[in-house]
């Protein structure tokens, strides 16, 4: 059986800024990285492969340059990678993105039965966490979000048991396969690829599927297939922080004035 991991290449958040003149995102010179949350999904897929002998494929929708991110997945140990790249896919919101990924997963399922789709909790750029649920709903898979432990996979019985980490509690859930499992960073510690694997990955062929392969209707993909539109982007302006006391020569006085301020403003009470 096959595990499909959905990954994304994202701009490194530390370098994101707006052009103050035209209010557009400055993309030039911003390095791209594997979405940090996806490293946990990749690691979990490799662990499951080692434990249960799954095959693992990683897919990524993005520009041709996103190939590098798929090579990272190969270096970590996935068996196969597919880049979903077509100018017609660009500008996609959650709904249009989940459509392209689901179509690719369906296509992969023609060769091998799918046990599960693994996703990171969210991306660091869009940060919606909604692509996983979108895939689950489109493919009618069991939807298991916020998973911090995969307890058991019963391949013949087509069942999976996971633990979810929800606000303030844990729940253990049994679900039928195939399932879409999105994982939280607490699930594992992603490995650093071995040099030998990295060299192999650098030489590997990356399969690329465009829309002549996926055959999706033009009005359902990219910008056209996206019901949401970004009307405006702007920098978040914060008021200056108020400095209390002289923390260097009188730390005690500053500490007292801080606590007093919190009490006066009903933020804290003794």
């Amino acid at each position: 059986m096959l595990i499909v991991v959905c990954i994304k290449e994202v701009p490194d958040a530390a370098y994101i800024n707006l052009n103050p003149v035209n209010g557009r995102l400055i993309r030039e010179g911003v390095p791209c990285i594997l979405n940090p949350f996806d490293a946990y999904a990749l690691e979990e897929s490799i662990k499951l492969k080692e434990k249960y002998q799954f095959r693992v494929a990683a897919i990524c929708m993005g520009p041709p340059s996103a190939e590098g991110t798929l090579r990272k997945a190969l270096a970590m140990g996935v068996d196969e990678v597919v880049l979903l790249s077509d100018p017609a896919f660009s500008g996609a919101d959650v709904l249009a993105t989940s459509l392209v990924l689901s179509a690719a997963i369906k296509k992969l399922s023609e060769k091998d039965e799918i046990a599960m789709v693994l996703c990171g909790k969210q991306t660091i750029d869009g940060a919606t966490g909604q692509v996983g649920p979108g895939i689950a709903t489109r493919l009618n898979y069991s939807q298991l979000t916020l998973v911090d432990r995969i307890e058991n996979v019963d391949q013949p019985g087509k069942k999976i048991t996971v633990r979810r980490m929800v606000d303030g509690w844990y729940e253990t859930i049994e679900a039928t396969l195939p399932a879409m499992v999105s994982v939280v960073p607490q699930i594992n510690h992603p490995r650093e690829p071995a040099v030998r694997m990295q060299m192999m990955a650098d030489r590997a062929q990356v399969t690329r599927w465009d829309n002549t392969v996926l055959q999706l209707a033009a009005q359902d993909i990219g910008l056209k297939g996206s019901p949401t539109q970004v009307r405006k982007i702007f920098s978040q302006t914060m008021p200056e922080s108020e400095i209390l006391g002289d923390g260097i020569s009188d730390p005690e006085g500053a500490a007292r004035s801080l606590i007093d301020t919190l009490i006066e403003n009903d933020i804290f009470s003794v």
């Binding site: 048991t161 859930i173 019901p227 539109q229 405006k232 400095i243 923390g247 260097i248």
Partner: protein
Amino acid sequence: MSDLDYQGVWVFIEQKNGAAAAVSWELLGAGAELAKTLDVELSAVVIGDKVEHLCQEAFSYGAAKAYLMDDPVFHYYRTEPYYKSVCQLINKYKPEIVLLGSTSLGRDLAGAVATELKTGLTEGCTKLGIDEKRLLLMTRPAYSGNIMATVVTEHARPQMATIRPRAMAMPEKDTNRRGEIIREPAAIREESIGVKVLEVIDSSQQGSGTVNLTNAEIIICGGRGVQSKENFQLLQDLADAMGGKVACTRAAVEDEIAPFNLWVGQSGVTVRPKVYIACGVSGAIQHLAGMRDSGVIIAINYDRQAPIYEVSTYGIEGDCLQVVPAMTNYVKELRAKKAN
């Protein structure tokens, strides 16, 4: 289908064991303003097992109607029965706006509903408004909170958004308000559901491996400036005195000042306490992403140029190792005075 076929503002009432999440009432407050601007009705969607009492509570927070699905199949939250039921209600009654809390449950549910209905969803909003064409303006942070984006769903309906807890003010409660309850049968039967909840554990009852920072009202966070494990105890003392919890930055984990499970940030835990006191924290963008929605942020750092000051309400320019123990002593002193 024309947009005009869709009318009214709906708020999904999130509940666990019959108790509603506070964000649901905050959304009724925000929803009431939207409904007033649009001159339409505000309704609550109440789904659960023995949850009829939540309808009256929703009326007291401003809903005029409550759509109620009360069935044992909804005892535990599971995506499939909930999303199919919400979709059935939306398809039947056609609201123009549907709001949910941006919580574990709300995010899980909203994604499934929006996909099934092929409509737009804007996740994690902090501000809502209505434009001149009656469209819902949904504003949310993006790129780790560096940038804000205002999003609209021009044509698809309903316009869906999840809203962060504490982003909207809690409305006044008036228990004299009444409303209309519309009962609907569950959209799905137990036999057809492939997911079973085997066990639910309150994470506060777990051992040392888990610390529930997400519910803490006061968080004292230590960064590299704390310097050592021994000094980190000073933060714990302040947390104990103030009734809060300690947390740390990635740098503090790397320097072995504090354990991994206390890590707040982009890849660690995301928190929004009422008070966040950052001690010796420079404020790397990845750290800010995990805490910038906190109510009041306080920076204690001798470097006034550190990025943590850009998100702070109050700051103390000084050494946290001197300021923090002074705070602890002062809180204890005030407590002792009060006790007398």
